[in-house]
Symmetry: C2
Subunit: 142 residues, 2 copies
DNA sequence: CCAATAATGTTCAACTATGAACAATAAAGT
DNA sequence: ACTTTATTGTTCATAGTTGAACATTATTGG
């Protein structure tokens, strides 16, 4: 199953090649599409990657004029992220490609099953994130 | 969903830390456990990674005496892979840990659903692998 | 107001995985 | 037999990701 994810990433990468973006870029674009104006930190948290990763990718996307980074006026530490018109266009096209790929993969899976899987996966994610924060401390017992 | 896989890998990595092995090593061990005597090439194909990756990991595991590499007598190119006693011991312990993790994740998912998911994932894998080999050639039509 | 603590983003060294180029061996075509 | 083509494993340069250390700015506590 991990292998399936791995292969889908590779396949997605190939399908996205002609737009000159890769899966990590798409992840960023999609999240900005839905949550415009978030900070780099918030974005990194949603994507489950390190802040440093954002510091590598975002400036490069800014140079390609897919996104824009504007400093927050109330907190001079944070940079808020916005899509440019070009960025929005590319995002929509890329999402179309991604959706087509996913549909093709799940074409012979019942709809309810997909939803059930999604629900479980989200539960798994929150479960693991929670565990990450409580390494090994029962705290009250013993 | 890709994120869930990512997190499970991280969680598995932490759970495996005290054995001083990482998920890629476990993948190798489990496959040797089930298919003892396969070549590096076959192993790489099963794991969906490059041959070069095997060339990096396997010698290091050989030095730690988890595996053994013996040259095939009929084909002097291939190195056949075997688990040592120590390797078998570690593999069993690591599989226990992995199984426990997976069970914990899917504890509230119905059994049939898990099986259904597995079936679909395997189909997805074979579908994508097939596509990889036929990049863009309808060949007979048009 | 000032010190201490925390949060954001950047930089850098380390690690992993990859694909291309290569040497050795095998298989196929002549 | 000999040349050509394919396969196996290795090496190396490259790209992507991470965590730690850092500078800057906020927040908290005295």
């Amino acid at each position: 199953m991990a292998r399936a994810c791995q292969l889908m990433q590779q396949s997605l990468a190939r399908a996205l090649a002609h737009l000159d973006i890769k899966p990590p870029h798409l992840d960023i674009l999609v999240n900005l599409f839905r949550f415009e104006g978030i900070s780099q930190q918030e974005l990194a948290r949603k994507l489950l990657v390190g802040r440093s990763n954002m510091s590598m990718l975002l400036p490069q996307m800014e140079k390609r004029e897919l996104i824009e980074r504007r400093g927050d006026k109330q907190d001079k530490r944070v940079l808020r992220l916005y899509l440019t018109e070009e960025g929005r266009r590319v995002t929509e096209e890329a999402m179309t490609i991604q959706t087509a790929l996913i549909d093709r993969m799940l074409s012979d899976a019942p709809i309810e099953e997909c939803q059930a899987i999604t629900v479980h996966m989200e539960r798994v994610v929150s479960l693991l994130l929670q565990e990450e924060r409580e390494p090994l401390e029962p705290a009250g017992d013993q």
